[in-house]
Amino acid sequence: MNLLLILPIAIPLTAATIGLLFRKSPMVQRASGVIGMAALLVSVIYLSWQTYTDGIQVIQLGDWAAPFGITLVMDLLSAAMLIITAIMGLVVSIYSLYDIDRVKEQYHYYPLLHILLIGINGSFLTGDLFNLYVWFEVMLISSFILLALGNRKTQLQGAVKYVIINLVSSLVFLFGVAMVYGMTGTLNMADLAVKIAEVENTGLVTAVSMIFIVSFGIKAAIFPLFFWLPASYHTPPVAVSAIFGGLLTKVGVYALIRVFTLIFTHDIGYTHTILLWVSGFTMVCGVLGAAAQMEFRKVLSFHIVSQIGYMIMGLAFNTKLGIMGAIFYIIHNILAKSNLFLISGIAQRLTGTFELKQLGGLYRQYPWLAVLFLISAFALAGFPPLSGFWAKLSLVKAGLQIEQYVITGVAILVGLLTLFSMVKIWAYAFWMPMEEENKSEQFGKMKLMGAGGLNLLVTPVIILAAIIIIVGLFAEPFLSFCMLAAEQLLNPEIYIESVLGES
């Protein structure tokens, strides 16, 4: 019993409530937005430390013993996800101080951001399948509003596609939950892991696992269910794109990892082979889609899809090294991808456009921005000694270990193509001279740092770039943490015992 486990949900809830109460005062909204995120980060670091030293933390809400009540569980995977979510929340809320205009602030931008984090944190913490559905909906409704906030025409077009496909995905998930409940009579994940093994009709269990792949797959944007993502993620304000691109798809990946290591492990030969094929296609489709795009954020959106493939591949290997690679990849990818989105926003502020063909000359005018871009882009492509290198290395090693040569080859090839897209952005936006006709007023005059500069936009980017370098240079403790998390996932008995108690 650890009562503090509700903090990752309670802190954003408090911050959101304060923001809503003081809707007339932008200062209070901003302060509650940023301070709330900082408090959240402190609390999850403390909780993660407890999880690391004392083992899996559990709370039975309302003191209803599992499997009857709702359980919140924090294992090392949840801990890693929560820390990275809180870091992202903090840097994005700082970035928003400049990026989000007064009108959007008045329409509760900061409370919505916090409600989004409630949903995400809840999804990472819950140990109950129906509760997971509820957290997904909390996350969805706030993401809907954040996506449409501002009411620009392109935003509405993107939001329509996003809303419809995500509603279908939630309903499919709910149907899957219903099937699981019908088969086993329980919704507690730890209890399910025990009871689903007793179901005689294994064909039905496999069918239900496919329902979960479809539902979480839509959320994680895997092949062939990813088309909504590049159609919507380049439309909202940059701060919103960054947090969506970083976190939302990874919640889907987290859910896939959770159910396919804990619950649906009865027929690994079948389900995980499907995941392996899907991961290969996801990687290739995403990276090829990115190669065809000429808009900064659209290139990045397609890359989200391609990177999801790597994580699913690690899950599909179902070995300790594979899952460790997948977890490390999630952490690295959230950092690098969100940072690239944030940089695209700075480029847009300086030049007035996201179009690669109109961008140019950034390297000459703003060499430090170019350096920051290179750090994140090389991390994404997997250059040593940045974080992406260790992520890709562990996945490739895991693939070679179980002799899956084809998919490993595909993964390496996709890494190369990722570099191609990053070089494309580099060449068009940073290297090529900007044509005189496209030059905006502020280009060259606006400073990155210092008085009248874009301090609030650049600071978060520097923080994230520093974390990427630290994770890259001192990879060992992070890798061994991910290894411990993978060990926990592959030994579900620990999880089950922590939730249900000694049986």
Partner: protein, 130 residues
């Protein structure tokens, strides 16, 4: 009764998927409503339909009188209905807003050019700066 509900659920699902696949945004929203109800009916059905006592504990007892009905599917379906209602309200407002702003509910007409995003954001910035 179970068979009947299963058939109804299946039919609702089929109709809903057909509607979601239409190009008209309003029809797609109606499709979501149908699928949402189909899932609720199926959830109810999968929680087993029983003719039994209400799950209430009478005075002086510690357990409800056996056989008693399972109240959990009802609670879950109720939660799902409430959540579905909220999301649907948002989807309808979004459809209305899109119609007002874009002048169409045909999803085929909602093919934006990425260039427009940059142009719109620039216009918005200028508006804010003024």
């Amino acid at each position: 009764m179970e068979t009947l509900l299963a058939i109804i659920g299946g039919a609702l699902f089929a109709a809903g998927i057909y509607m979601v696949l239409r190009r008209n945004l309003i029809k797609a929203v109606i499709g979501i409503i149908l699928i949402s109800n189909a899932v609720n009916v199926l959830f109810f059905n999968l929680g087993r339909l029983t003719k039994a006592n209400p799950p209430l504990i009478w005075e002086g007892n510690t357990l409800p009188v056996s056989p008693f009905a399972n109240p959990l599917p009802q609670a879950l379906v109720l939660t799902a209905i409430v959540i579905g209602f909220g999301l649907l309200a948002f989807a309808l407002v979004l459809a209305y807003r899109s119609y007002k702003e874009l002048g169409t509910v045909d999803l085929d007409d909602m093919k934006m050019d990425p260039v427009e995003v940059s142009a719109e954001m620039r216009a918005e910035e200028e508006q804010v700066n003024q």
